[in-house]
Structure formats: structure tokens, C-alpha cells
């Protein structure tokens, strides 16, 4: 049971990493293909930061002392 949970958590981490790489590539494409890309870049950066803080830093778990 614990091993299954561990595998599921590791898989989740991999998916988050893939999402971050895709967002970075999209960011790079927007920077060179779209005129005045600042707003789009900010939105993508916020999505990146949310993914890292929520899934890697466990932000929503902060108030749960037992974990």
C-alpha cells in the first residue's frame, strides 16, 4: 500500500516536471513569435510558480502539522 502511494507521488512529480518543461518551451516560443509578450509571459510564470509551490513545496499542506 505504502509502495503504491510512493509510486503515485513519484509519478505526480514527473508529470509536474513535464508540465514545467512544456510551459518553458511555450514561453520561449511566445517571446519570439508574439509582439509585446510581457503579459503572456507573466501568466505562464505564475502558472509555473503555482505548479512548483503546490506540488513540490506542498503549499496547501502548510497548515496540516501532522504530515
Amino acid at each position: 500500500m505504502d509502495e503504491t502511494r510512493k509510486r503515485a507521488q513519484l509519478r505526480l512529480g514527473l508529470w509536474v516536471f513535464i508540465a514545467l518543461i512544456i510551459l518553458t518551451v511555450v514561453e520561449l516560443w511566445i517571446a519570439f513569435a508574439v509582439p509585446r509578450p510581457l503579459l503572456y509571459l507573466v501568466v505562464i510564470n505564475l502558472a509555473d510558480a503555482w505548479l512548483i509551490m503546490e506540488y513540490f513545496m506542498h503549499l496547501s499542506r502548510m497548515w496540516r502539522a501532522e504530515e
Binding site: 507521488q9 513519484l10 512529480g13 509536474v16 514545467l20 510558480a49 512548483i52 506540488y55 513545496m57
Partner: protein
Amino acid sequence: MQTVRVHVPYDHTHTRRIGLWLFFISEGFLFLALISSRYYLFGLSRPEELNQALGLLITTILLLSSLTAYRAETSILHGDQGMFLRNTLATILLGSLFLVGVALEWAEAFRFFPPHTRFGTIFFTLTGMHGFHVLSGVVLLVFLYFHGRRGRFGVTNTWPVEGVIKYWHFVDVVWVFIYPTLYLVSS
């Protein structure tokens, strides 16, 4: 009637987490100030001399190091010592590789936009301050690795691992904003 006193040990994890996040918030303001100085001093221009391939490469390396850091934390939470050590070591190597990339960036930057120019000031301050944070993260990870080898962390003692790994992810979050600020923003 008899009164029974029950001593419930205080769990410090909650307080430690709040303290760590408050530290991240204060650090976030520091980087926010530095990032905003880019727009104040240099506007939305993008120097053509920037090495885009190197910028993308070091960004990928840092994101990959966040994955290995996450795997290290997950494995120690499940008591897998071997996997914890392997992933901590991988994170140290990737962090060091990132610093080598920054050093290469600096070698180019000295030629095209030296520190006394407007973009140079922004570039060296931002990458230097962030690089210093990466370096301190690597030192902390080395500390984790050697203590981990002596079996000091396990299912019942995960806070040092959690604290250092969270710091590493924070350094990654900061880079997520620095990368487009230096390399991608244009008018």
C-alpha cells in the same frame, strides 16, 4: 473527583513551516525589487547578444534538479534511504552544473554587457544574487547528503530534509521569474 493531566507533546513542524514560508516571502520581496529594477533601468528591450540556448539549458537543468529534490523528499518520507541519497546527490550535481552554466553566462556577459552598463548592472545583480542562493542550497544539500549517509533522517525525522528541499524549490521559483525577465521580455 480526580483530575488526570495528559501531556501532549507540541509538534513544531507547523511553526517551522510558517517560519520558513515567512522567510520565503521576505526573500521574494528582495527578488521582486531586483526584477522590477530591470524594467525601470532597461525598459522592455532585449539585448541580441544574450545566449538563448544557454539560458534555456540552465533553466531546464534547474527544473530537473527540482524533480530530483522532490524525489529525494518523497523517498525519505517513505523510508527509502537509498533513493533519498541517490536523488540528493543528483540534485547537488545538477545545482553545481547550473552554477557552471551561470559562470559561462558571465564570461559572455563581460564581453557584451559589462557590469558598468545598464543591462550589465541588472544582469550581474540578478544572476549573482540568485547564484549565491543556489550555492547556499548546494551547501545545504551536501550537509543533507552526508548526514543522510549516517542514517540521521528517516520517517520520524524528516524536517531537515523538508526544510532544505523547500528552500531548493524556492530558488527554482525565483529563477522561473528571472529567466524571462533577463532573456525573453521584449517590446
